[in-house]
Amino acid sequence: MIISILIIPLLGGIILLLSSKRPRWHFTVNFLVSSASLIAAVIVLTQTVSGRILTLQIGNWPAPFGITLVADLLSSVMVLLTAIIGWAVAIYANKYVNAHQAGEGFFALMQLMLFGIYGAFLTGDMFNLYVWFEVLLIASFSLMTLGSTSRQTEGAFKYVLLNLVASAFFLVGIGLLYGVAGTLNMADLARKAAMMENTIVLQTVALIFMVSFGIKAAVFPLYFWLPASYHTAPIPVAAIFAGLLTKVGVYALIRVFSLIFIHDTNFTHTILLIVAGLTMLSGVIGAAAQNDFRRILSFHIISQIGYMIMGLALFTPLAVAGAVFYIIHHIIVKSNLFLIAGIVERIHGSFDVSRLGDVYKKWPLLALLFFIPAFSLAGIPPLSGFWAKLTVIKAGLDIRQFAIVFVALGVGLLTIFSMTKIWAQVFWKEQPITKEHRNTGNNPVWMELIPVAFLALLTIIIGLLAGPVFEISNRAAEQLLNHKPYIEAVLGGGR
Amino acid sequence: MISTALNISLGMISLSMILIILRVLRGPSLADRVTALDILMTTGIGFIAIYSIYSNNDIFIDVAVILALIAFVGTIAFSYFINRENR
């Protein structure tokens, strides 16, 4: 069953690549492929939600030697979220991707990028994780430069450079890890690392991985590439990037620092905690100085990632559950906000908040659709963001980490301020009339409002049904902290 | 007997490599450097072939063959662009 999650987007990408002469069909094909992925992801989640761990030994090579695909609860939840965002963007892209871009391979690259993301979430092998990172990066490089304007190339250049540095660090870390442990299978690593006596090299590797995944997850002080590059990509691409790519880094951090590097949590997780606090602060302060709709949102990705890392760093069952809940909430909300920014730009022809205005008066529905994810992001009850923040902060209070709780609360306030700024500038105030800027005269169409409404609805559902969602996060956290079932599922010859 | 010959030839090839690298560094023109890099590849092929005999491992011969087949592509590409710039 796991393999279908990988085969569907790959097959879809191949079909789209082979039919590059008929770009008109691409939208439909892409939509069908994304729907199939969504169904497969739901099926996998229904199988793992009870706590079962699915594994697949590729090529029938037994576990520590071959590549293992593992779907535990966290992986399946991430896969489902990826499929949801992929599906929403597949509908949304109709208005934003013209036949020329489709012929250039827009949809094919998008499916291949999703293929890479699914792979990164499902793999149970360190080196394989590196390979998946490269798969999704190559696809994302090409997607980012698809318009090939000079601004895009500049943004993509920073993105490529930083990510190559991250990959190099990762590769060095993998080499060292293999030298110490003699295996790269994650379950086997967890088993061997637990028995290791001399852990100095292991700590070094932990720090190298922290830098590498930290760059990918855009944590302090390695986040500069994110606001410099995300806003240059086409909006459907930016929405996937914003929702998913940094979360791949966060996922890798959570996986590695809950499974393998847990010897000296005083050392590693304290660093993570400090990093988390600084990430939150620098993200939200950076956002305050911005005037571009997408750049404000980009900086908020950074500050929100701080909360997830905080959940991981506190490292109690409740905190890790909070981190998982936060990821669920954030992927949906952040992609949605980017999609809305795209709609506003298509109507008003600008991303600059000082030039925008009046959206509320003209399009109250659009304003409402913005209101839900924006104030969920800021943590207003009863939306999903409130429960996510509450869980993480409660976990902090439980183990008396008041400093980080204080930072988290302060950043929450600043986020409200920042979202209010967008609300007031873009949706509420009267649009200033200037000569050089004119509205495009486009109206929002259903094709782009449906995915936005769908994601907003999910935000509300997560908020109202916080109990069951929290229960799932809790189980995922339990699986992360209790390694025995994971190791047995991978190494015990299970299928 | 053969090992002495191998040692001597390895030494000579290493020496010529150093001289070639000096030429790459000193130039003076781009064409000089490109040609020097090409010869560096050629001596590299010789080095690999001798090392293959030295270590009694015929897998290295394949590496030498691939290098010999591919090494000059870069040189030709360079000359293509030098040619174009002069036009």
């Binding site: 085969i7 790959l10 990408g13 690549l17 082979l18 090529g59 | 394949d62 691939i66 030709i76």
Partner: protein, 136 residues
């Protein structure tokens, strides 16, 4: 760039490159070689022809569109994993024929996978070369 030396030399070198690339492809499973390096060697030959006779000649030499080649290569690699599923084994399990053939050795699904990789590498590399040559 018209060069008599290059054109004449290519007539002898290019067949050897293609032949060696095929050799690397088929023996790659148990010895150094494989689809990736074989694709690079073949792409080098295509590159040489493109440099000596122009992009349009390079495209004609490749016979099919480079992007199409990449796509079909991916498809072939994917298909190579399917027979294992139909015979009830894990995805990508290597299945081999019993008989051996001279030079090539045993035939099996991993050869298909390697051929797919070969096509992907050849397609992507020549596509990059064509694009670069056309835009400059």
């Amino acid at each position: 760039m018209r060069s008599l030396i290059l054109n004449t030399a290519l007539r002898f070198i290019a067949p050897i490159m293609f032949l060696f690339s095929f050799f690397l492809l088929v023996r790659g499973h148990n010895n150094p070689g494989g689809g990736f390096i074989a694709g690079l060697v073949a792409a080098a030959a295509i590159t040489l022809y493109t440099l000596s006779s122009g992009v349009s000649y390079g495209r004609r030499l490749l016979q099919i569109d480079a992007r199409l080649l990449t796509g079909s290569g991916l498809l072939l690699a994917l298909i190579s994993g399917i027979p294992a599923i139909t015979s009830g084994q894990s995805f990508m399990t290597g299945l081999w024929l019993e008989k051996t053939i001279i030079v090539i050795g045993k035939l099996g699904t991993p050869i298909l996978f390697d051929a797919g990789v070969f096509m992907v590498v050849l397609g992507i590399t020549s596509n990059i070369i064509f694009e670069l040559m056309e835009h400059n």
